[in-house]
Protein backbone atom coordinates (compact mmCIF):
# COMPACT_ATOMS: atom_id res chain seq x y z
CA UNK A 1 0.00 0.00 0.00
CA UNK A 2 2.81 2.31 0.83
CA UNK A 3 4.37 1.35 -2.45
CA UNK A 4 1.22 2.27 -4.26
CA UNK A 5 1.06 5.62 -2.45
CA UNK A 6 4.69 6.27 -3.35
CA UNK A 7 3.97 5.35 -6.94
CA UNK A 8 1.20 7.90 -7.32
CA UNK A 9 3.34 10.53 -5.72
CA UNK A 10 6.25 10.07 -8.08
CA UNK A 11 3.79 10.01 -10.92
CA UNK A 12 2.39 13.34 -9.85
CA UNK A 13 5.88 14.83 -9.70
CA UNK A 14 6.70 13.57 -13.18
CA UNK A 15 3.63 15.28 -14.62
CA UNK A 16 3.43 18.59 -12.77
CA UNK A 17 0.02 20.05 -12.35
CA UNK A 18 -1.01 22.14 -15.34
CA UNK A 19 -2.58 25.29 -14.03
CA UNK A 20 -5.03 27.49 -15.86
CA UNK A 21 -2.26 30.06 -16.10
CA UNK A 22 0.04 27.61 -17.92
CA UNK A 23 -2.72 26.84 -20.35
CA UNK A 24 -3.36 30.53 -20.91
CA UNK A 25 0.33 31.12 -21.61
CA UNK A 26 0.24 28.81 -24.61
CA UNK A 27 -3.24 29.76 -25.78
CA UNK A 28 -3.13 31.13 -29.32
CA UNK A 29 -6.00 33.57 -28.92
CA UNK A 30 -4.67 34.98 -25.65
CA UNK A 31 -1.08 35.31 -26.90
CA UNK A 32 -2.27 36.64 -30.24
CA UNK A 33 -4.23 39.38 -28.51
CA UNK A 34 -1.16 40.51 -26.56
CA UNK A 35 1.10 40.39 -29.60
CA UNK A 36 -1.38 42.47 -31.59
CA UNK A 37 -1.87 45.04 -28.84
CA UNK A 38 0.85 47.64 -29.70
CA UNK A 39 0.05 47.74 -33.40
CA UNK A 40 -3.68 47.73 -32.75
CA UNK A 41 -3.36 50.56 -30.22
CA UNK A 42 -1.57 52.78 -32.75
CA UNK A 43 -3.92 51.95 -35.58
CA UNK A 44 -7.08 52.41 -33.56
CA UNK A 45 -6.04 55.59 -31.74
CA UNK A 46 -4.38 57.37 -34.65
CA UNK A 47 -5.95 55.82 -37.74
CA UNK A 48 -9.40 54.30 -37.25
CA UNK A 49 -10.64 56.84 -34.71
CA UNK A 50 -9.51 59.88 -36.75
CA UNK A 51 -10.99 58.33 -39.88
CA UNK A 52 -14.39 58.11 -38.21
CA UNK A 53 -13.91 61.49 -36.58
CA UNK A 54 -13.16 63.01 -39.99
CA UNK A 55 -16.46 61.80 -41.39
CA UNK A 56 -18.25 63.13 -38.30
CA UNK A 57 -16.46 66.51 -38.54
CA UNK A 58 -17.65 66.87 -42.12
CA UNK A 59 -21.22 67.00 -40.77
CA UNK A 60 -20.42 69.69 -38.19
CA UNK A 61 -19.48 73.35 -38.28
CA UNK A 62 -16.30 72.78 -36.25
CA UNK A 63 -13.62 75.44 -36.37
CA UNK A 64 -10.15 75.55 -34.92
CA UNK A 65 -10.50 75.94 -31.14
CA UNK A 66 -14.24 75.20 -31.08
CA UNK A 67 -16.02 71.86 -31.30
CA UNK A 68 -18.84 72.08 -33.78
CA UNK A 69 -22.46 71.07 -33.67
CA UNK A 70 -24.18 68.74 -36.09
CA UNK A 71 -25.40 70.64 -39.14
CA UNK A 72 -26.32 67.78 -41.44
CA UNK A 73 -25.09 67.95 -45.00
CA UNK A 74 -24.69 71.73 -45.02
CA UNK A 75 -20.93 71.53 -45.68
CA UNK A 76 -21.54 69.33 -48.70
CA UNK A 77 -24.31 71.57 -50.00
CA UNK A 78 -21.98 74.52 -49.62
CA UNK A 79 -19.24 72.70 -51.54
CA UNK A 80 -21.70 71.67 -54.22
CA UNK A 81 -22.20 75.34 -55.11
CA UNK A 82 -18.54 76.23 -54.68
CA UNK A 83 -16.80 76.63 -58.03
CA UNK A 84 -13.34 76.43 -56.43
CA UNK A 85 -14.18 72.98 -55.09
CA UNK A 86 -15.21 71.80 -58.55
CA UNK A 87 -12.02 73.25 -60.03
CA UNK A 88 -10.06 71.25 -57.45
CA UNK A 89 -11.99 68.07 -58.35
CA UNK A 90 -11.27 68.68 -62.02
CA UNK A 91 -7.59 69.34 -61.26
CA UNK A 92 -7.31 66.22 -59.14
CA UNK A 93 -8.82 64.04 -61.85
CA UNK A 94 -6.67 65.65 -64.56
CA UNK A 95 -3.54 65.41 -62.41
CA UNK A 96 -4.19 61.79 -61.48
CA UNK A 97 -5.29 60.72 -64.95
CA UNK A 98 -2.52 62.31 -66.98
CA UNK A 99 0.28 61.72 -64.48
CA UNK A 100 -0.66 58.05 -63.88
CA UNK A 101 -1.01 57.28 -67.58
CA UNK A 102 2.34 58.87 -68.46
CA UNK A 103 4.05 57.37 -65.41
CA UNK A 104 2.81 53.95 -66.43
CA UNK A 105 3.88 54.31 -70.07
CA UNK A 106 7.33 55.75 -69.30
CA UNK A 107 7.84 53.46 -66.31
CA UNK A 108 7.05 50.34 -68.33
CA UNK A 109 9.26 51.54 -71.17
CA UNK A 110 12.12 52.25 -68.77
CA UNK A 111 11.64 48.84 -67.13
CA UNK A 112 11.86 47.16 -70.54
CA UNK A 113 15.02 49.13 -71.36
CA UNK A 114 16.62 48.27 -68.02
CA UNK A 115 15.79 44.61 -68.54
CA UNK A 116 18.17 44.48 -71.53
CA UNK A 117 21.80 43.51 -71.17
CA UNK A 118 23.62 46.72 -70.32
CA UNK A 119 27.10 47.59 -69.16
CA UNK A 120 27.12 48.83 -65.54
CA UNK A 121 23.60 47.44 -65.17
CA UNK A 122 23.53 47.41 -61.37
CA UNK A 123 24.75 50.98 -61.08
CA UNK A 124 22.29 52.31 -63.65
CA UNK A 125 19.41 50.56 -61.92
CA UNK A 126 20.42 51.90 -58.52
CA UNK A 127 20.77 55.43 -59.82
CA UNK A 128 17.32 55.35 -61.45
CA UNK A 129 15.70 55.03 -58.05
CA UNK A 130 17.30 58.15 -56.55
CA UNK A 131 14.41 60.53 -57.43
CA UNK A 132 12.19 58.25 -55.37
CA UNK A 133 14.57 58.26 -52.37
CA UNK A 134 15.03 62.00 -52.11
CA UNK A 135 12.22 63.59 -50.05
CA UNK A 136 9.53 64.98 -52.33
CA UNK A 137 9.65 68.41 -50.77
CA UNK A 138 13.35 68.78 -51.42
CA UNK A 139 13.18 67.70 -55.05
CA UNK A 140 10.10 69.90 -55.46
CA UNK A 141 12.21 72.83 -54.33
CA UNK A 142 14.74 72.00 -57.05
CA UNK A 143 11.84 72.01 -59.52
CA UNK A 144 10.69 75.32 -58.15
CA UNK A 145 14.05 76.77 -59.09
CA UNK A 146 13.99 75.04 -62.49
CA UNK A 147 10.52 76.55 -63.06
CA UNK A 148 11.51 80.06 -61.94
CA UNK A 149 9.83 82.70 -64.07
CA UNK A 150 13.00 84.75 -64.68
CA UNK A 151 16.02 82.54 -64.19
CA UNK A 152 14.72 79.16 -65.33
CA UNK A 153 17.45 77.18 -67.04
CA UNK A 154 14.77 75.53 -69.19
CA UNK A 155 13.61 78.87 -70.55
CA UNK A 156 17.22 79.93 -71.05
CA UNK A 157 18.13 76.79 -73.00
CA UNK A 158 15.05 77.00 -75.20
CA UNK A 159 15.82 80.65 -75.91
CA UNK A 160 19.40 79.79 -76.86
CA UNK A 161 18.02 77.16 -79.24
CA UNK A 162 15.72 79.88 -80.66
CA UNK A 163 12.63 77.80 -79.94
CA UNK A 164 10.98 80.53 -77.86
CA UNK A 165 11.54 84.26 -77.64
CA UNK A 166 10.36 85.09 -74.11
CA UNK A 167 10.69 83.26 -70.81
CA UNK A 168 8.02 80.67 -70.05
CA UNK A 169 6.07 81.61 -66.92
CA UNK A 170 5.95 78.01 -65.73
CA UNK A 171 4.02 78.46 -62.50
CA UNK A 172 2.28 81.76 -63.26
CA UNK A 173 -0.17 80.76 -65.96
CA UNK A 174 -3.01 78.32 -65.09
CA UNK A 175 -2.39 75.75 -67.80
CA UNK A 176 1.41 75.85 -67.87
CA UNK A 177 1.29 75.57 -64.07
CA UNK A 178 -0.89 72.46 -64.34
CA UNK A 179 1.43 70.83 -66.85
CA UNK A 180 4.48 71.82 -64.79
CA UNK A 181 3.24 70.18 -61.59
CA UNK A 182 2.13 67.12 -63.57
CA UNK A 183 5.62 66.90 -65.04
CA UNK A 184 7.23 67.10 -61.59
CA UNK A 185 4.90 64.35 -60.34
CA UNK A 186 5.75 62.12 -63.31
CA UNK A 187 9.45 62.71 -62.70
CA UNK A 188 9.12 61.52 -59.14
CA UNK A 189 6.83 58.55 -59.85
CA UNK A 190 8.54 56.94 -62.84
CA UNK A 191 11.45 55.31 -60.92
CA UNK A 192 9.11 53.53 -58.50
CA UNK A 193 7.01 52.08 -61.31
CA UNK A 194 10.04 51.20 -63.43
CA UNK A 195 11.86 49.31 -60.66
CA UNK A 196 8.80 47.40 -59.43
CA UNK A 197 7.82 46.42 -62.98
CA UNK A 198 11.44 45.44 -63.62
CA UNK A 199 11.17 43.05 -60.68
CA UNK A 200 8.09 41.57 -62.36
CA UNK A 201 9.79 41.38 -65.77
CA UNK A 202 12.62 39.32 -64.35
CA UNK A 203 10.27 36.52 -63.42
CA UNK A 204 9.43 36.09 -67.13
CA UNK A 205 11.56 33.33 -68.60
CA UNK A 206 13.52 34.28 -71.76
CA UNK A 207 12.70 30.88 -73.26
CA UNK A 208 9.13 32.09 -73.79
CA UNK A 209 10.44 34.87 -76.02
CA UNK A 210 12.69 32.46 -77.88
CA UNK A 211 9.81 30.11 -78.53
CA UNK A 212 7.62 32.98 -79.72
CA UNK A 213 10.38 34.26 -82.02
CA UNK A 214 10.78 30.82 -83.58
CA UNK A 215 7.02 30.86 -84.18
CA UNK A 216 7.51 34.15 -86.04
CA UNK A 217 6.19 36.65 -83.47
CA UNK A 218 7.12 40.29 -83.96
CA UNK A 219 8.54 42.45 -81.18
CA UNK A 220 5.12 43.96 -80.56
CA UNK A 221 3.45 40.56 -80.48
CA UNK A 222 6.04 39.31 -77.98
CA UNK A 223 5.24 42.26 -75.77
CA UNK A 224 1.49 42.05 -76.23
CA UNK A 225 1.05 38.29 -75.80
CA UNK A 226 3.89 37.37 -73.41
CA UNK A 227 5.17 40.32 -71.40
CA UNK A 228 1.90 42.14 -70.85
CA UNK A 229 -0.26 39.20 -69.70
CA UNK A 230 2.45 37.92 -67.33
CA UNK A 231 2.94 41.39 -65.92
CA UNK A 232 -0.76 42.22 -65.48
CA UNK A 233 -1.01 41.28 -61.79
CA UNK A 234 1.94 43.39 -60.72
CA UNK A 235 0.79 46.23 -62.97
CA UNK A 236 -2.61 46.17 -61.26
CA UNK A 237 -1.08 46.52 -57.81
CA UNK A 238 1.58 49.07 -58.73
CA UNK A 239 -0.89 51.24 -60.57
CA UNK A 240 -3.37 51.10 -57.70
CA UNK A 241 -0.70 52.47 -55.39
CA UNK A 242 0.38 55.03 -57.94
CA UNK A 243 -3.17 56.27 -58.58
CA UNK A 244 -3.93 56.35 -54.87
CA UNK A 245 -0.91 58.41 -53.92
CA UNK A 246 -1.17 60.70 -56.93
CA UNK A 247 -4.82 61.33 -56.15
CA UNK A 248 -4.09 62.34 -52.57
CA UNK A 249 -0.88 64.23 -53.35
CA UNK A 250 -0.20 67.30 -51.28
CA UNK A 251 3.52 68.00 -50.94
CA UNK A 252 4.42 68.74 -54.53
CA UNK A 253 1.58 71.19 -55.10
CA UNK A 254 2.09 72.91 -51.77
CA UNK A 255 5.76 73.57 -52.45
CA UNK A 256 5.44 74.53 -56.10
CA UNK A 257 2.26 76.61 -56.27
CA UNK A 258 0.23 76.41 -53.02
CA UNK A 259 -2.77 75.88 -55.27
CA UNK A 260 -2.23 79.04 -57.28
CA UNK A 261 -2.33 80.81 -59.69
CA UNK A 262 -6.01 81.69 -59.01
CA UNK A 263 -6.69 78.19 -57.61
CA UNK A 264 -5.71 76.65 -60.94
CA UNK A 265 -3.59 73.88 -59.39
CA UNK A 266 -5.53 73.21 -56.19
CA UNK A 267 -5.98 69.52 -55.60
CA UNK A 268 -8.61 68.29 -53.16
CA UNK A 269 -5.91 67.67 -50.53
CA UNK A 270 -4.39 71.15 -50.80
CA UNK A 271 -7.81 72.79 -50.82
CA UNK A 272 -8.84 70.92 -47.69
CA UNK A 273 -5.61 72.03 -45.97
CA UNK A 274 -6.22 75.62 -46.98
CA UNK A 275 -9.85 75.62 -45.81
CA UNK A 276 -9.35 73.60 -42.62
CA UNK A 277 -5.97 74.63 -41.23
CA UNK A 278 -5.27 78.04 -42.75
CA UNK A 279 -8.91 79.14 -42.94
CA UNK A 280 -9.90 77.44 -39.68
CA UNK A 281 -13.06 75.81 -41.10
CA UNK A 282 -12.36 72.26 -39.95
CA UNK A 283 -15.82 71.00 -40.93
CA UNK A 284 -15.57 72.20 -44.50
CA UNK A 285 -12.03 70.86 -44.91
CA UNK A 286 -13.13 67.51 -43.49
CA UNK A 287 -15.98 67.42 -46.02
CA UNK A 288 -13.50 67.87 -48.88
CA UNK A 289 -11.28 65.13 -47.45
CA UNK A 290 -14.28 62.83 -46.99
CA UNK A 291 -15.28 63.46 -50.60
CA UNK A 292 -12.01 61.78 -51.61
CA UNK A 293 -12.99 58.49 -49.94
CA UNK A 294 -15.29 57.18 -52.73
CA UNK A 295 -12.43 57.56 -55.21
CA UNK A 296 -10.07 55.71 -52.87
CA UNK A 297 -12.60 52.90 -52.49
CA UNK A 298 -12.77 52.58 -56.26
CA UNK A 299 -8.98 52.28 -56.40
CA UNK A 300 -9.00 49.63 -53.65
CA UNK A 301 -11.65 47.61 -55.51
CA UNK A 302 -9.53 47.65 -58.65
CA UNK A 303 -6.60 46.40 -56.60
CA UNK A 304 -8.78 43.63 -55.19
CA UNK A 305 -9.77 42.43 -58.64
CA UNK A 306 -6.13 42.58 -59.64
CA UNK A 307 -5.41 40.14 -56.83
CA UNK A 308 -8.18 37.79 -57.87
CA UNK A 309 -6.80 37.69 -61.35
CA UNK A 310 -3.37 36.90 -60.01
CA UNK A 311 -4.65 33.85 -58.13
CA UNK A 312 -6.35 32.63 -61.25
CA UNK A 313 -3.17 33.00 -63.24
CA UNK A 314 -1.25 30.91 -60.78
CA UNK A 315 -3.69 28.08 -61.29
CA UNK A 316 -5.42 28.48 -57.94
CA UNK A 317 -9.15 28.57 -57.56
CA UNK A 318 -11.01 31.83 -57.31
CA UNK A 319 -12.21 31.98 -53.75
Amino acid sequence: MTEAALGTRTKREAYPHVTAWDRLKTNREWLGAWFMLPAAAFLVLFLAYPLGLGVWLSFTDARIGRTGVFIGTENYEWLWDDSVFWVSVFNTLLYTGVASAVKFAVGLYLALLLNENLPFKAIIRSVVLIPFIVPTVLSAIAFWWLFDSQFSIISWSLKKLHLISTNIDFLGDPWTARWSVIFANIWRGVPFIAITLLAGLQTVSPSLYEAATIDGASAWQRFRFITYPLLTPIIAVVMTFSVLFTFTDFQLIWVLTRGGPINATHLMATLSYQRAILGGHLGEGAAIATAMIPFLLAAILISWFGLQRRKWQQGESND
Binding site: G32, A40, F42, L45, V137, I141, V190, Q314
Partner: protein, 309 residues
Amino acid sequence: MTDVLASKQIDPRSVLTGSAALADHSEGMSYLHSLPRRLVTLYLPLGIIMFVLMFPFYWMVLTAIKPDEQLLDLETFNPFWTWTPTLKHIQKLLFESNYPLWLWNTMMVAMSATVLSIAASVLAAYAIVRLRYKGAQWVGGAIFLAYLIPPSILFIPLSTVVFQYGLFDTPFALILTYPTILIPFSTWLLMGYFKTIPFELEECALIDGASRWQILTKIVLPLAVPGLISAFIFCFTLCWNEFIYALTFISSTSHKTVPVAIVNEFVDGDIYRWGSLMAGALAGSLPLVVLYAFFVEHYVSAMTGAVKE
Protein backbone atom coordinates in the same frame (compact mmCIF):
# COMPACT_ATOMS: atom_id res chain seq x y z
CA MET B 1 -5.68 36.72 -49.70
CA THR B 2 -2.66 36.48 -47.45
CA ASP B 3 -1.67 33.14 -48.90
CA VAL B 4 -0.74 34.71 -52.20
CA LEU B 5 2.00 36.61 -50.44
CA ALA B 6 4.83 34.18 -50.19
CA SER B 7 4.04 32.41 -53.40
CA LYS B 8 6.21 34.52 -55.62
CA GLN B 9 9.38 35.70 -53.95
CA ILE B 10 11.33 38.25 -55.93
CA ASP B 11 15.05 38.19 -55.24
CA PRO B 12 16.12 41.82 -54.74
CA ARG B 13 19.65 41.04 -55.81
CA SER B 14 18.42 39.88 -59.18
CA VAL B 15 16.40 43.05 -59.67
CA LEU B 16 19.61 45.03 -59.57
CA THR B 17 22.11 42.75 -61.24
CA GLY B 18 20.16 40.87 -63.86
CA SER B 19 18.29 37.68 -64.48
CA ALA B 20 20.36 35.44 -62.20
CA ALA B 21 17.26 34.13 -60.45
CA LEU B 22 15.83 32.52 -63.55
CA ALA B 23 15.85 28.78 -63.85
CA ASP B 24 17.38 28.67 -67.31
CA HIS B 25 20.45 30.85 -67.42
CA SER B 26 19.68 32.03 -70.88
CA GLU B 27 20.99 35.39 -71.97
CA GLY B 28 17.93 35.92 -74.11
CA MET B 29 18.11 37.01 -77.70
CA SER B 30 20.02 40.24 -77.23
CA TYR B 31 23.03 38.86 -79.12
CA LEU B 32 20.89 39.05 -82.26
CA HIS B 33 20.84 42.84 -82.18
CA SER B 34 23.59 44.79 -83.87
CA LEU B 35 25.30 47.70 -82.16
CA PRO B 36 23.81 50.52 -84.32
CA ARG B 37 20.36 49.12 -83.69
CA ARG B 38 20.96 48.98 -79.96
CA LEU B 39 22.22 52.55 -80.03
CA VAL B 40 18.90 53.82 -81.37
CA THR B 41 16.49 51.52 -79.59
CA LEU B 42 18.25 51.21 -76.25
CA TYR B 43 21.05 53.62 -75.40
CA LEU B 44 19.47 56.76 -76.82
CA PRO B 45 16.07 56.54 -75.07
CA LEU B 46 17.74 55.31 -71.88
CA GLY B 47 20.18 58.22 -72.04
CA ILE B 48 17.37 60.75 -72.45
CA ILE B 49 15.33 59.33 -69.56
CA MET B 50 18.38 59.16 -67.30
CA PHE B 51 19.29 62.74 -68.19
CA VAL B 52 15.82 64.00 -67.27
CA LEU B 53 15.81 61.99 -64.03
CA MET B 54 19.23 63.21 -62.94
CA PHE B 55 19.23 66.80 -64.14
CA PRO B 56 17.35 68.33 -61.16
CA PHE B 57 20.00 66.88 -58.82
CA TYR B 58 22.84 68.20 -60.92
CA TRP B 59 21.14 71.56 -60.87
CA MET B 60 20.62 71.35 -57.11
CA VAL B 61 24.31 70.63 -56.47
CA LEU B 62 25.52 73.22 -58.95
CA THR B 63 23.30 75.95 -57.50
CA ALA B 64 24.43 75.11 -53.98
CA ILE B 65 28.10 75.75 -54.84
CA LYS B 66 27.71 78.66 -57.27
CA PRO B 67 28.53 82.21 -56.14
CA ASP B 68 25.46 84.46 -55.98
CA GLU B 69 26.43 86.76 -58.82
CA GLN B 70 26.70 83.81 -61.22
CA LEU B 71 23.31 82.44 -60.21
CA LEU B 72 21.27 85.24 -61.65
CA ASP B 73 23.52 86.30 -64.52
CA LEU B 74 22.95 83.74 -67.22
CA GLU B 75 24.58 85.79 -70.00
CA THR B 76 28.17 86.49 -68.85
CA PHE B 77 28.73 83.09 -67.19
CA ASN B 78 28.06 79.67 -68.58
CA PRO B 79 25.06 78.57 -66.47
CA PHE B 80 25.86 74.85 -66.72
CA TRP B 81 29.20 75.00 -64.97
CA THR B 82 31.15 77.09 -62.49
CA TRP B 83 34.91 77.53 -62.20
CA THR B 84 34.70 79.29 -58.85
CA PRO B 85 32.77 76.98 -56.52
CA THR B 86 31.99 78.39 -53.09
CA LEU B 87 30.98 76.84 -49.80
CA LYS B 88 29.36 80.08 -48.68
CA HIS B 89 25.79 78.80 -48.97
CA ILE B 90 26.52 75.60 -47.10
CA GLN B 91 28.47 77.46 -44.43
CA LYS B 92 25.61 79.93 -43.99
CA LEU B 93 23.22 77.01 -43.71
CA LEU B 94 25.20 75.16 -41.07
CA PHE B 95 26.44 78.04 -38.94
CA GLU B 96 23.99 80.91 -39.37
CA SER B 97 20.65 79.13 -39.38
CA ASN B 98 18.75 76.55 -37.35
CA TYR B 99 19.41 73.95 -40.00
CA PRO B 100 21.45 71.57 -37.76
CA LEU B 101 18.62 71.68 -35.23
CA TRP B 102 16.03 70.81 -37.88
CA LEU B 103 18.24 68.02 -39.15
CA TRP B 104 18.51 66.69 -35.61
CA ASN B 105 14.72 66.95 -35.13
CA THR B 106 14.09 65.03 -38.33
CA MET B 107 16.62 62.37 -37.41
CA MET B 108 15.22 61.98 -33.91
CA VAL B 109 11.58 61.82 -34.99
CA ALA B 110 12.33 59.42 -37.85
CA MET B 111 14.42 57.18 -35.61
CA SER B 112 11.89 56.99 -32.75
CA ALA B 113 8.89 56.47 -35.01
CA THR B 114 10.71 53.78 -36.97
CA VAL B 115 11.84 51.87 -33.89
CA LEU B 116 8.35 52.01 -32.38
CA SER B 117 6.74 50.87 -35.61
CA ILE B 118 9.15 48.02 -36.24
CA ALA B 119 8.68 46.72 -32.69
CA ALA B 120 4.89 46.81 -33.02
CA SER B 121 5.03 45.32 -36.53
CA VAL B 122 7.28 42.41 -35.57
CA LEU B 123 4.82 41.35 -32.87
CA ALA B 124 1.79 41.84 -35.08
CA ALA B 125 3.29 40.12 -38.11
CA TYR B 126 4.45 37.15 -36.05
CA ALA B 127 1.03 36.80 -34.47
CA ILE B 128 -0.77 36.97 -37.80
CA VAL B 129 1.54 34.57 -39.63
CA ARG B 130 2.52 32.08 -36.94
CA LEU B 131 0.12 32.24 -33.99
CA ARG B 132 -2.79 32.22 -36.44
CA TYR B 133 -5.33 33.19 -33.86
CA LYS B 134 -8.98 33.26 -34.82
CA GLY B 135 -9.57 35.90 -37.50
CA ALA B 136 -5.84 36.42 -38.22
CA GLN B 137 -6.51 36.40 -41.94
CA TRP B 138 -9.07 39.16 -41.60
CA VAL B 139 -6.69 41.23 -39.51
CA GLY B 140 -4.06 40.76 -42.24
CA GLY B 141 -6.54 42.08 -44.80
CA ALA B 142 -7.48 45.00 -42.57
CA ILE B 143 -3.82 45.97 -42.23
CA PHE B 144 -3.49 45.97 -46.01
CA LEU B 145 -6.49 48.32 -46.17
CA ALA B 146 -4.92 50.58 -43.51
CA TYR B 147 -1.91 50.78 -45.81
CA LEU B 148 -4.16 52.33 -48.45
CA ILE B 149 -5.47 55.16 -46.25
CA PRO B 150 -3.42 58.23 -47.15
CA PRO B 151 -2.38 60.93 -44.65
CA SER B 152 -4.10 63.66 -46.65
CA ILE B 153 -7.57 62.48 -45.60
CA LEU B 154 -6.51 62.01 -41.98
CA PHE B 155 -4.63 65.16 -41.09
CA ILE B 156 -7.68 67.30 -40.24
CA PRO B 157 -9.28 64.96 -37.67
CA LEU B 158 -5.80 63.96 -36.47
CA SER B 159 -4.98 67.57 -35.75
CA THR B 160 -7.95 67.75 -33.37
CA VAL B 161 -6.98 64.39 -31.84
CA VAL B 162 -3.38 65.54 -31.36
CA PHE B 163 -4.71 68.67 -29.73
CA GLN B 164 -7.01 66.73 -27.39
CA TYR B 165 -4.17 64.43 -26.30
CA GLY B 166 -2.08 67.53 -25.55
CA LEU B 167 0.60 66.61 -28.08
CA PHE B 168 0.28 69.64 -30.34
CA ASP B 169 3.63 71.26 -31.22
CA THR B 170 5.71 68.58 -29.52
CA PRO B 171 7.90 65.97 -31.24
CA PHE B 172 5.55 63.32 -29.83
CA ALA B 173 2.81 64.51 -32.15
CA LEU B 174 4.96 63.19 -35.01
CA ILE B 175 6.54 60.23 -33.24
CA LEU B 176 3.10 58.84 -32.39
CA THR B 177 1.32 59.61 -35.66
CA TYR B 178 4.00 58.45 -38.12
CA PRO B 179 3.60 54.80 -37.05
CA THR B 180 0.11 54.85 -38.59
CA ILE B 181 1.83 55.17 -41.95
CA LEU B 182 4.68 52.79 -41.11
CA ILE B 183 3.02 49.93 -39.22
CA PRO B 184 0.73 48.74 -42.04
CA PHE B 185 3.62 48.78 -44.49
CA SER B 186 6.20 47.08 -42.28
CA THR B 187 3.75 44.51 -40.91
CA TRP B 188 2.86 43.56 -44.45
CA LEU B 189 6.52 43.30 -45.42
CA LEU B 190 7.51 41.28 -42.33
CA MET B 191 4.57 38.91 -42.78
CA GLY B 192 6.10 37.97 -46.11
CA TYR B 193 9.50 37.39 -44.50
CA PHE B 194 8.22 35.38 -41.56
CA LYS B 195 6.36 33.07 -43.93
CA THR B 196 9.62 32.05 -45.56
CA ILE B 197 11.06 30.80 -42.24
CA PRO B 198 10.51 27.02 -41.97
CA PHE B 199 7.77 26.05 -39.58
CA GLU B 200 9.78 23.01 -38.42
CA LEU B 201 12.33 25.21 -36.65
CA GLU B 202 9.62 26.57 -34.41
CA GLU B 203 8.14 23.15 -33.81
CA CYS B 204 11.52 21.85 -32.62
CA ALA B 205 11.86 24.80 -30.25
CA LEU B 206 8.33 24.28 -28.92
CA ILE B 207 9.08 20.61 -28.20
CA ASP B 208 12.24 21.69 -26.37
CA GLY B 209 10.08 23.83 -24.16
CA ALA B 210 10.68 27.29 -25.60
CA SER B 211 8.01 29.90 -25.06
CA ARG B 212 6.59 31.89 -27.94
CA TRP B 213 8.59 34.90 -26.83
CA GLN B 214 11.83 32.89 -26.88
CA ILE B 215 10.99 31.54 -30.32
CA LEU B 216 10.41 35.04 -31.62
CA THR B 217 13.58 36.57 -30.19
CA LYS B 218 15.97 33.63 -30.58
CA ILE B 219 14.83 31.94 -33.79
CA VAL B 220 12.57 34.07 -35.94
CA LEU B 221 14.20 37.49 -35.55
CA PRO B 222 17.79 36.40 -36.25
CA LEU B 223 16.55 34.70 -39.41
CA ALA B 224 14.53 37.72 -40.47
CA VAL B 225 17.37 40.25 -40.22
CA PRO B 226 17.35 41.13 -43.95
CA GLY B 227 13.62 41.79 -43.71
CA LEU B 228 14.11 43.93 -40.62
CA ILE B 229 16.77 46.02 -42.34
CA SER B 230 14.52 46.49 -45.37
CA ALA B 231 11.59 47.53 -43.21
CA PHE B 232 13.82 49.79 -41.12
CA ILE B 233 15.40 51.81 -43.90
CA PHE B 234 12.17 52.07 -45.85
CA CYS B 235 10.30 53.33 -42.77
CA PHE B 236 13.11 55.74 -42.03
CA THR B 237 12.88 57.14 -45.57
CA LEU B 238 9.10 57.46 -45.31
CA CYS B 239 9.47 59.43 -42.06
CA TRP B 240 12.08 61.72 -43.53
CA ASN B 241 9.82 62.33 -46.50
CA GLU B 242 6.65 62.99 -44.49
CA PHE B 243 5.36 66.52 -44.85
CA ILE B 244 1.67 67.10 -44.21
CA TYR B 245 1.59 65.93 -40.56
CA ALA B 246 4.76 67.84 -39.74
CA LEU B 247 3.31 70.93 -41.40
CA THR B 248 0.02 70.68 -39.52
CA PHE B 249 1.06 69.53 -36.03
CA ILE B 250 4.21 71.60 -35.48
CA SER B 251 4.13 75.36 -35.23
CA SER B 252 7.27 76.51 -33.41
CA THR B 253 10.47 76.89 -35.42
CA SER B 254 12.59 74.89 -33.00
CA HIS B 255 10.48 71.72 -33.39
CA LYS B 256 10.22 71.70 -37.17
CA THR B 257 11.56 68.97 -39.43
CA VAL B 258 13.74 69.65 -42.46
CA PRO B 259 11.05 69.50 -45.19
CA VAL B 260 8.70 71.85 -43.34
CA ALA B 261 11.43 74.20 -42.16
CA ILE B 262 12.90 74.58 -45.60
CA VAL B 263 9.53 75.46 -47.10
CA ASN B 264 8.44 77.83 -44.34
CA GLU B 265 11.64 79.38 -42.99
CA PHE B 266 13.88 79.68 -46.03
CA VAL B 267 11.35 81.09 -48.44
CA ASP B 268 11.45 84.84 -48.12
CA GLY B 269 11.48 87.64 -50.63
CA ASP B 270 15.27 87.55 -51.01
CA ILE B 271 16.24 87.22 -54.66
CA TYR B 272 19.53 85.58 -53.65
CA ARG B 273 17.82 82.83 -51.63
CA TRP B 274 18.33 80.13 -54.25
CA GLY B 275 21.86 79.22 -53.20
CA SER B 276 20.96 78.53 -49.60
CA LEU B 277 17.64 76.86 -50.57
CA MET B 278 19.44 74.40 -52.83
CA ALA B 279 22.14 73.85 -50.19
CA GLY B 280 19.35 73.06 -47.72
CA ALA B 281 17.66 70.66 -50.13
CA LEU B 282 20.98 68.98 -50.81
CA ALA B 283 21.90 68.62 -47.14
CA GLY B 284 18.44 67.19 -46.42
CA SER B 285 18.71 64.63 -49.22
CA LEU B 286 22.27 63.45 -48.67
CA PRO B 287 21.70 61.37 -45.51
CA LEU B 288 19.03 59.36 -47.31
CA VAL B 289 21.06 58.95 -50.48
CA VAL B 290 24.06 57.71 -48.45
CA LEU B 291 21.82 55.28 -46.55
CA TYR B 292 20.36 54.14 -49.85
CA ALA B 293 23.82 53.63 -51.37
CA PHE B 294 24.72 51.24 -48.56
CA PHE B 295 21.47 49.26 -48.63
CA VAL B 296 20.32 49.34 -52.25
CA GLU B 297 19.32 45.70 -52.28
CA HIS B 298 17.34 45.94 -49.06
CA TYR B 299 15.64 49.01 -50.39
CA VAL B 300 14.59 47.32 -53.60
CA SER B 301 13.39 44.31 -51.67
CA ALA B 302 11.27 46.56 -49.44
CA MET B 303 9.78 48.22 -52.48
CA THR B 304 9.00 45.04 -54.38
CA GLY B 305 7.78 43.49 -51.12
CA ALA B 306 5.44 46.41 -50.67
CA VAL B 307 3.67 45.78 -53.96
CA LYS B 308 3.75 42.00 -53.68
CA GLU B 309 0.33 42.65 -52.23
